[in-house]
Symmetry: C2
C-alpha cells in the first residue's frame, strides 16, 4: 500500500544533518543547538542523527568544516601580504554569516582535514612570499585565532545577553575606571555610541601583525633555537 503519509520526509543524510545544524545555529545561536532540537527540526527522533554523525563533537567539527568551505581563495596575483590579508578577511566575512562559528571554533580540540587545509593555504602564502619555515611557524602562532576572522570581544558583551547583575553604578565607574571610560569614548565620533567598530579593530590589529611580520622577514629574522 506504500504510504500516502502526511509528510513524505526526504531521507536523512550526513549532509542534510550538517546543513540543518548550520541553519539552526544561524537562526537560534550556538548555545541553543542540541541534538534533540536538531532532530525535532528534521522531524526525526534524536537517535536518528547518530546514524549520520558519530556524536555531537563531530557534528560541530562538520559544521566548522562547512564554514571553512565558504572561504574564498585569495586573488592569484597578490603578494604574500595581500594574500594573507584577503584570505583572513574572507574568513571574517564567513564568520559574519555564521556568528556561532566563533564559539564552535574556539571549542575545537582536533583539527579536521578541511581546517588543516585552510591553515596549509596560509602557510603556502607565506612560503610564496619567501618566508622561512621557521618564521612562518612563529607568525602562524602570532596570528592565532585571528586566522578565523575574529578577535576576542574586549568591551562588547556577547550580543543578546543582558548583564546578570546591575554591577556598578555610573558613579563608581567614573571613579574606579576612568581610563576605560576615556578610551571607550575616544573611539567614537559619536560619544553616545555603544559598540566598537569591530571590523576596524580587527584590521588594525591584523595590520600591526602583518607589518611586524614583514619587518622580521625583511631583516631575515630567525629564532635562535
Amino acid at each position: 500500500m506504500s504510504r500516502g503519509k502526511s509528510a513524505p520526509r526526504p531521507p536523512l543524510s550526513r549532509e542534510r544533518v550538517v546543513r540543518a545544524a548550520v541553519e539552526f545555529a544561524d537562526r537560534e545561536g550556538y548555545a541553543a543547538l542540541s541534538m534533540r532540537k536538531l532532530a525535532d527540526e528534521l522531524g526525526v527522533v534524536p537517535m536518528a542523527l547518530y546514524k549520520h554523525v558519530a556524536d555531537r563533537e563531530s557534528l560541530v567539527d562538520a559544521m566548522v568544516d562547512a564554514v571553512v568551505d565558504e572561504y574564498e581563495p585569495a586573488p592569484a596575483d597578490a603578494d604574500w601580504r595581500e594574500s594573507v590579508r584577503a584570505t583572513i578577511l574572507s574568513a571574517r566575512r564567513a564568520l559574519a554569516r555564521h556568528p556561532w562559528a566563533r564559539e564552535a571554533i574556539e571549542s575545537r580540540t582536533d583539527r579536521t582535514p578541511a581546517v588543516l587545509g585552510y591553515m596549509e593555504s596560509l602557510v603556502q602564502h607565506f612560503f610564496a612570499g619567501g618566508f622561512s619555515a621557521n618564521l612562518t611557524h612563529h607568525v602562524m602562532h602570532a596570528l592565532g585565532n585571528r586566522i578565523w576572522g575574529f578577535s576576542p570581544e574586549m568591551f562588547n558583551p556577547a550580543p543578546g545577553a543582558a548583564p546578570r547583575e546591575p554591577q556598578l553604578s555610573p558613579e563608581e565607574i567614573v571613579e574606579r575606571f576612568p581610563g576605560i571610560l576615556a578610551i571607550a569614548r575616544a573611539a567614537h565620533a559619536d560619544p553616545t555610541a555603544t559598540s566598537c567598530d569591530e571590523d576596524f579593530e580587527f584590521s588594525f590589529a591584523l595590520d600591526i601583525l602583518l607589518d611586524g611580520f614583514a619587518r622580521l622577514h625583511d631583516r631575515g629574522w630567525t629564532s635562535a633555537h
Copy 2:
C-alpha cells in the same frame, strides 16, 4: 552533648566555596567542575552552594576574579612598554598555575569589577606612556585575550585529550599538508619534539604588537573617525 559528630565540618562561606572550586579545577580540570561535584567535595548537598553563589556563572566569575587577584603589579620605575609586558607576563604565570582559567575567561560575557580593574591598570600604563585615549582604545583591542596571558593553541591539541579519530595517515599528511609539516619541524632544534615553546610564541607575538604600538605612538597616529 553538643556534637561530637564524625566530621565537624567548618561552615561554608562564599570564599570557601570559591577556593574549593579553584582547587578542584586545578586538579580535575574545568570541564570536570560541576555544582554537584563541588558540593560533594565540600561534604555538602548541591543546593547548599546556592546560599553562597547565585549560580554557576557567577561562581566562575568569582573563580576568574581569584586568578586576577594573583596578578603582580608592574615595577614602579618601568616605562609603559615594560609595565605592560611585565603585567601581561604576570598574568601568564598565573594562568600557568590555573590552566582552566583560559577556558573560564573565554566563556565570560560580563566583566566583573576585578576584571575591569585589571584592564584599567593596563590602560593607565598606556596613558602614563603618553598614549592618547584613541590609540589606547585600539591597542587594547589589538591585545585582545592576550592580556590574560594566553594565545590560542594553534597546533597543540588541548593537553590530555586523545584524538577522536585516526584522522589522517602520515602519508596523507606529507602529501596534503607539506607546509604545516615543514613549519612544525622548523621550530624545534629537535625535530622529534612534539610541542611548541608556547612561552616563546607568546612573547613573540606580544612583542610584535608592542613594537607596532610604539611605532604608531611615536608618529602620533590616530584613527580618523
